[in-house]
């Protein structure tokens, strides 16, 4: 049996994944070339950590998750989750992990939510008492009580996501992988999902690894963040450090009463107005700064009607990282 090293619950050593891609160059003709989707990645995640795993589309995020869950076999390197080699003992590992694919529900479309949970109960052979206890807890914390007898097709996107998260946790997984858990959700649903994940991690010590496009997810949940691009691990550390490295900016969108010249704030030199369109203006400010004083100043000097804050997107952060660090 594989001994568990104290250093890591999830361990990757020089893991790589190479695909042979065929590209069509004409009718019935193709060109083969190799793509390194994951290029020699190494990291360790300790039991009970909550880590954000971010990067632009096609960077290798989901390939990594697929290797960690045993869906894909690595082309090279060593990979262990809870001491298990995922690709060789897929079904054994399955009992110990939970997976939520944000854009792909695993719930049963035409059946009440409860029925999907019963299937999990039987499929994972969860002891009755434990199943009841876990279901009760998830129902309470994710506020699913009213929804248990509603067919899944009638649930909203946010309700379905909560349902999916509960389904992934009924068998007490030690690690939970979430692929874009807040994508497409409204603000209330997002904060409810985040709150639940925070509690899950804090109270039950479940290790959580999540990929996301929404930096707020990371900000509110993860002390540690890993950035992957072109298959390589570009950054591994605290979120604050990422902002320093990336010097990313958030955007404040303000709607004024009428069309005015670009907003200028003498007291805040780091803020600049990047776009004006009728009464609406876009202001960029460093992501590490709070938006509150800025809003207060604008409200004092300008006829403010409405406003919203847009988070920097991952692509922008990573682009900045390249610029400032020369590709690290």
């Amino acid at each position: 049996m594989e001994a568990q090293t104290p250093t890591g619950f999830i361990e990757l050593d020089q893991v790589e994944k190479v695909f042979d891609v065929r590209r069509k160059t004409g009718f019935m003709r193709g060109e083969r070339h190799r793509v390194r989707a994951v290029d020699s990645i190494s990291f360790r995640v300790a039991r009970g950590e909550m880590v954000g795993y971010i990067g632009p589309n096609g960077a290798g995020k989901s390939t990594t998750i697929k290797m960690l869950t045993g869906i894909l076999t690595p082309s090279g390197g060593r990979l262990r989750v809870a001491g298990i080699d995922p690709s060789r003992e897929r079904t054994r590992l399955a009992h110990r992990i939970g997976v939520v694919f944000g854009q792909r529900t695993t719930l049963w479309w035409d059946l009440p939510l409860r029925d999907s949970y019963r299937l999990m109960h039987r499929m994972y052979r969860i002891p009755d008492a434990r199943y009841r206890e876990n279901l009760e807890r998830c129902v309470e914390l994710l506020d699913l009580g009213e929804l248990l007898d509603v067919p899944v097709r009638q649930l909203s996107l946010g309700q379905r996501m909560r349902g999916d998260i509960a389904a992934a946790l009924l068998h007490d997984p030690e690690v939970l992988y979430l692929d874009e858990p807040t994508i497409g959700l409204d603000v209330v649903s997002k904060s409810r999902v985040r709150g639940f994940l925070r509690d899950l991690n804090a109270e039950r010590g479940t290790t959580v690894l999540l990929t996301t496009h929404d930096l707020t997810d990371i900000e509110q949940l993860c002390k540690r963040v890993m950035v992957i691009d072109h298959g390589r691990l570009m950054y591994d550390g605290a979120l604050a450090g990422l902002h320093e490295v990336g010097e990313s900016e958030r955007t404040l969108v303000v709607d004024l009463e009428r069309q005015l010249p670009p907003i200028r704030l003498e007291s805040a030199p780091s803020v600049r107005t990047v776009k004006v369109e009728g009464p609406r203006q876009w202001l960029a400010f460093p992501a590490s700064e709070s938006a509150a004083p800025l809003v207060a100043r604008i409200a004092a000097d300008y006829p403010l009607v409405d406003l919203s804050v847009r988070e920097p997107d991952i692509e922008a952060v990573i682009a900045k990282m390249y610029e400032s660090a020369g590709g690290m």
Partner: protein, 301 residues
């Protein structure tokens, strides 16, 4: 490493003493025979699909009828043929009905149990196969149980009906052995068709849009077997005897029941081979499936 028959293995830093630190299950992983696990998972998933279809009761009745009628058309065509002739390829209508009934029922059973496997290519394309790979049960069972539909019983009913007609009308000198041949044919025939469904799905790992190829062997094979071997060219009969063993579904065993001469000058005892052949045919089909799944897991597409 523990053996595969049921040893208990304790892994990880388990703390089964109770209390808050022991939040995880006892982390007891019991290895069970894959076949048993697969059948159990199949049953669980099939039940879910049954309950899902009950949400649309009205269209369920319609589709059972449609399934029955669509299948029955094959036999109507044969009846129309026999309104013009007394024999086809030297066989009478009841004799052909026996061939038809056996093949139709066997294929119907395989289609009922494994018919959805032709959707594998679609699942690979839309990425939903991945959600099956994170479950602790065999993927084959999950794919096979996908969209389990009782409406496919329409095909089985129709096959049984024609088979019943043939058995009533035919003047056969029944022996215990001949009587035992009937259920044997149906079961091993279903197994042969089932292996074809699995092999076809395995092929879709390679060519995701090629679900039709599998139809040529499954539906096409069923159509072929509804007629006597004397109708077809020798090479075609050789092909479905030695390469894709369709001839063992009904031709060889049914010809024994009918007391007819075998095609290709095959000896009498081949009539008793269907269970063996079906078992052997599952080997390449199963290996093909494993190879296909392995290829998928290394290429991800």
């Amino acid at each position: 490493m523990a053996d595969t028959t049921g040893a208990v293995e304790v892994a990880g830093a388990a703390d089964a003493s109770g209390g808050r630190p022991a939040q995880w299950p006892e982390e007891v992983f019991v290895r069970r025979p894959r076949f048993v696990e697969g059948v159990r998972a199949y049953g669980l998933i099939a039940m879910m699909w049954l309950r899902s279809t009950m949400a649309y009761r009205a269209s369920f009745a319609l589709t059972v009828f449609g399934n029955f009628a669509a299948t029955a058309f094959d036999f109507v065509a044969i009846l129309l043929m026999f309104s013009h002739v007394d024999r086809l390829g030297g066989y009478t209508l009841p004799e052909i009905a026996l061939l038809y009934g056996v093949s139709g029922t066997a294929f119907g059973l395989a289609d009922l149990l494994l018919g959805s496997m032709d959707r594998l290519g679609a699942r690979v394309r839309d990425g939903t196969l991945d959600t099956l790979l994170v479950r602790p049960v065999p993927v084959l069972a999950q794919v096979a149980a996908d969209r389990f539909a009782l409406r496919r019983l329409g095909r089985v009913f129709q096959g049984v009906l024609v088979l019943g007609y043939a058995l009533v009308v035919l003047d056969i000198e029944w022996t215990p052995l001949k009587a035992a041949m009937v259920p044997m044919m149906l079961l091993s025939g279903a197994a042969v068709f089932g292996a074809l469904f699995v092999a076809g799905a395995a092929f879709q790992f390679v060519a995701q849009d090629a679900a039709q190829v599998q139809n040529a062997f499954t539906y096409g094979g069923n159509t072929l077997l509804q007629y006597p071997p004397s109708v077809f060219a020798k090479d075609l009969v050789r092909g479905v005897t030695f390469v894709v063993p369709l001839a063992f579904v009904n031709w060889l065993p049914a010809l024994y029941v009918l007391g007819r001469e075998y095609p290709l000058g095959l000896p009498d005892w081949v009539a008793f081979l269907p269970p063996v052949v079906a078992g052997l045919f599952w080997l390449p089909a199963g290996l093909g499936w494993r190879a296909g799944l392995r290829a998928y897991r290394s290429t991800g597409s």
